[in-house]
Symmetry: D3
Subunit: 281 residues, 6 copies
């Protein structure tokens, strides 16, 4: 087992769920609000998990009772921005600096999507702004009934730029609803989130949501990792391409992957009515 | 305030909703059916609104009790077509003339989508054919319970070509339903429209629907116009591009937009617990 | 009427539904499981139907009470694969052979999507693996209440490669749900399928589902074939392209299609309150 | 013959070249430098020519001996910009105004590319900045030996934004050369332009270049307008799309166009060894 | 060796060039002009060659001294068209039939591009219309000095629709020249073709051109077939995609292909200074 | 000035060329052949240069007289591969490991293209395999007359996967030539490289080529960095997108960039006939 020692995140490996990693945002006294060091850590964690052969699926949660995350730590962010936005820079030069900053921030959050293993987010309590950017980069979302969501960015004078506006319309197939919540920043709760398909399931409490997410992750981790990781890759590729392109990429991908020993392992265990064991990946 | 004097549309600015424009299709004796002069006017109106700094969001409705719009005024249209379809033209030449005509018609309706400000449509009564083309070019759709929708074009021997077939599958994430209503022209009502996500909310009466739409528009108009207009642009861009491309465009867009004074105005008003005031745009 | 004589499929033309073809997978003793000769036949059938002027819409069902199809006939498939996977071939060469095989298989199933006429699938009983690949290539899906679906492929160590992972996210606008069922292979039933929009309607029994599908097909077949076939083409094109590209393709398509006699036939029959008759296509 | 009366352009119809329009930039005392009223006129002219049935091809030239065009009239432009760039606007709001301005400017120059008839540019003397934007929007470029080209924009602190950077790499298949001249603003002459394929032919004098362009335009105008206009459309479409998409668009386009009477007119005139006469388009 | 017995083509396997197939269009008395049975045969041949493990590269030539091919056999084609264009069909229905016809024709010629092995065309004499469509679907073009090319279609009232307008701009990086020859149908010879990059080499006589093509094919056939076929695939893919997409597809492709034994075979033969022998593919 | 201390590269800042960085591959005793530590360093260097405000353009060369680079250090590479390709892994798992490896390698070389500043490569002597991958990721290529190029990968049983097959067709507008040199691995020299547009200029000696490259870089570095960096970005973006998309991205980019002080600095220095000085970027 590789070491996962981080300052703002706990990474653990629940005994009941083999091959499952549990990543917890751990700054509960600040409602798990993010500043730059945190998203750099997040990226490091998901990059490490992506190629860790003892990990097959991942659950992401927030520590504490009150919030998954309140989003960007505006105070920390504005201090950082002050040093950046040197008053001697003209608007074009400031723009170059801002662009580098946004690219770096986006690319940290995108490590969740690029992670080769499926990621399930269990959301609870306050889940604003960056909470949405993070959760749409994951594969499956569940929540507890107390969750309070909002695409909060227009309330601070900005269009969301870390992924929400790009990925939310591809996660939820109700473009009018996506427009409404993004253009008004109005809050929405668990039931509405489930109705439009933003979350897959609503649990009574945070504890139940985390437990449910771990069980779902455990189920994915019990399957062939070749099959599961290929499925994540091909679904994400297909979302962004024509059917023709999706089928073509699939043929090239699977032309290697069907040579896995997992097929015979899976078939054999099916015949023998026992749980299959797959080699590491 | 600029002048908005048009023959087939009323454009008003409700006192209760600052920065909101209300556009009303105004040919109720003909069930608001459209002919060419009307869609040219529609385009002129939305182009004007798009860059009018005193407008931040728009509501589109139909005058009268009976219909949002019955669609194309087939009688007027067929008279127009007769003069076009000179019998001495070969099918290739007729095709060139038809193509110019369709491009022009499409481009008028697309001004709703291209309008920099969000557009909310409140639908009621008869809402056939062009009613769907128009409403899917808008950002949010609400309706009254008496609405009667149909993608009517196959009933007159045509595939819908003014936007319905292009945008409806991107507005409603249930492709089987989109296929069914488009291939059969069967009517559907408010409840079904809400269930599949075609409309966001159903109101009891037309009056309530218009009121609801104005309130929603008012809420959008109270937010930073930099944020709101950027959000519309980035959502529409992302709908049509890969996640990678969406994120890239977002970085360039926001590298300028985050330099707006609205961020500090919004933050300050948040601290001071008062309504923010934003400069015109 | 052309001859449709096939070994593993029944192709019939129900008297009550003019212009409707009924294709039935006919290997009920093996739960309609597929092997290569069957998907080659499927492709031949849909290619023939595509340009048959006496066919305007198609219903696809499975013979017998127990299954629409149990998917790939793993036993037959593994025998076929054995002869292919000559042990003297290196992994690159095996990959080339596998790629040719997958391309050929995909292209057979894609004939359903490429068929110029709309295809409605009525699903019942066991509907696993290839059942999903087939049904997402069709236009509309209905089912009986006893249906048992699963995206089964990860259970045999593979990512689904015959269309499910490519088309399912474009059929169902709930990406989290698509991810969950694809990454876990868990079964789901009729109610869940209807709730997420995978099927349009649930019928009590298989018989009712087939009847409902035939009626829907009959309704489509009663409309102008120029309009219906254009609508299918433009919806599928638009699904895969930007709004701008969708509108452009539409103009070129319709510039010829609006010259159909069906427009005046449809308008006239509307005025005369009788059923329209359209020329063959 | 329609009227073509414009302030800054001469539009004539040379007697020797039936169906050819000759557009001349006519501000020679200012080296044909452009300001806003001029590109608005340019757009009006090319939109008019695009659907004028008595025009089948177009030649674009600059009046006077010294310059095709020296590019943007910087003095006029900076005066215009001053009024726009109100000092009370924040950088985000200025950005919105600039974007509207660039979109409008680009869209005027793009009318050359969107014009349904082929456009040949004959360049001479000074041909800087906007001269390149304009000429890459045309179909064929020829020049006289005295021409002096430069992608001049970096010399005034800007990346070219009216089309050069977008279209030049698609006109000239030598990306290193495109980068070099765009990143340095260095001048280049007729021989170099011909060597890299930026111009198709170099003539001794301006007069000869114009004469050559008119002859080439005359040759195009003598062919079937259905064929010529379709060829322009399909080449421009194909430049921007995959081979697969290009072929698909071509099938839909030509499915109508092959029904032209021009095919039999062309074949018959071939058999009869006489010049074909084609109906207007 | 598989049998290659065709009516209008000779397929031979030159003794001097192991793994090279030589396909010859064989209707010299009609200047190798094409009618439908011929392009169906062409497709059958290239499909067969594509997966024939004893073939690693292909040369395509035309029999006789006078012509590679004069293009479409207009007489045969117009007879075929007569039966299709039933006078009772409206223009929309004719359009559907024409579209099916063009799709089928295109797809036959595209088998040259889709063939997994590289194809070199040696052109001579008359090489009009379809000669260009065919040669741009191949990988490399050489010619003899007597060749007479023309993109001939506008001379018969049509835009070329079998591939020339789609592929020529991607083969020759001089878009002005492509436009000129396509919009005028003017002839061009060997030297001009070489200067713009349409052909790679000009030989004195047809015999020398064929010999040169066979030698080039022989050189390709002496390399690892895994490497050569992958190179063709990746170049064609990259032509049509962004750099980002091209790199991504390449990683998936090569992740299997680098597992070939050919790498060690090639390295070993390099060390031992002998010709490498590669397993069949 | 930031520190640039690397093991396998020299990074210097020539006194004669302000703002120009000179990167030299420095392993001349091994013909500058690459192994993994080297491309990781290369990436670190170009990432550092990309945001270093004292750098405005870059020249890349190879140390020693004999080679720019002989490409991959096959000995080092095969040792690395042995440890990776554990014999207990099935082909699917090996494929996953290879894919990660190729992605990482590609992404290092792509830092040259992604570097915000223009990069000019001066090539000499042996320039095989990776030399091509590297140079096509740069903006401009020059060489000395003794250069010996080859797309060498097919000679070791592989399709080039680090960028050559993806970028070369976009750098050189002669697809037949690209195919020929890629499918045969045959060497080509300076004159041929210049003729097809692979290099922009041929110098007599390596020293002259480096001097020429530095002068060209110096010229670029003397221009507005806002303009130069924008030009690189927009040209690379446009290469990969439709004209429509290229223009749209350009408007957003320049809406911020035209607010630079460099415009007035450049105009003023033009009026005053002196060299402009631009703020850092």
């Amino acid at each position: 087992m590789s070491a996962y020692t981080y300052q703002y995140f706990n990474v653990t490996f629940p005994q009941d769920h083999q091959y499952v990693a549990h990543v917890e945002i751990n700054r509960p006294d600040k409602l798990n609000a993010f500043f730059e060091a945190m998203w750099l850590e997040l990226a490091a964690i998901f990059n490490q998990l992506s190629s860790d052969p003892s990990v097959r699926s991942i659950v992401l949660t927030g520590a504490g009772d009150r919030a998954f995350t309140a989003g960007l730590d505006v105070k920390a962010a504005s201090e950082g921005l002050l040093s950046d936005s040197d008053t001697t820079l003209d608007p074009a030069r400031k723009s170059v600096i801002m662009r580098r900053h946004i690219i770096s921030f986006q690319s940290c959050i995108s490590t969740i999507e690029k992670c080769e293993k499926p990621v399930i987010v269990a959301l609870h309590g306050i889940a604003l702004g960056l909470a949405i950017d993070i959760s749409v980069a994951a594969d499956v979302r569940v929540c507890s009934s107390d969750v309070r969501f909002a695409v909060k960015e227009v309330d601070i004078g900005l269009a969301a730029d870390i992924g929400t506006l790009t990925r939310l319309p591809k996660v939820v197939g109700n473009f009018g609803w996506v427009k409404e919540v993004s253009l008004t920043a109005r809050p929405f709760g668990a039931q509405e989130a489930e109705r439009v398909g933003f979350v897959s399931r609503v649990y009574g409490t945070k504890g139940e949501a985390v437990k449910g997410a771990l069980e779902l992750a455990g189920l994915m981790a019990s399957k062939s990792p070749v099959a599961v990781q290929g499925t994540k890759e091909l679904l994400n590729y297909s979302r962004d391409h024509t059917v023709e392109e999706g089928l073509r990429y699939t043929t090239v991908w699977n032309s290697a992957m069907v040579q896995t020993k997992d097929v015979s392992d899976a078939l054999l265990s099916g015949i023998q009515k026992r749980k299959a064991t797959f080699a590491k990946l």
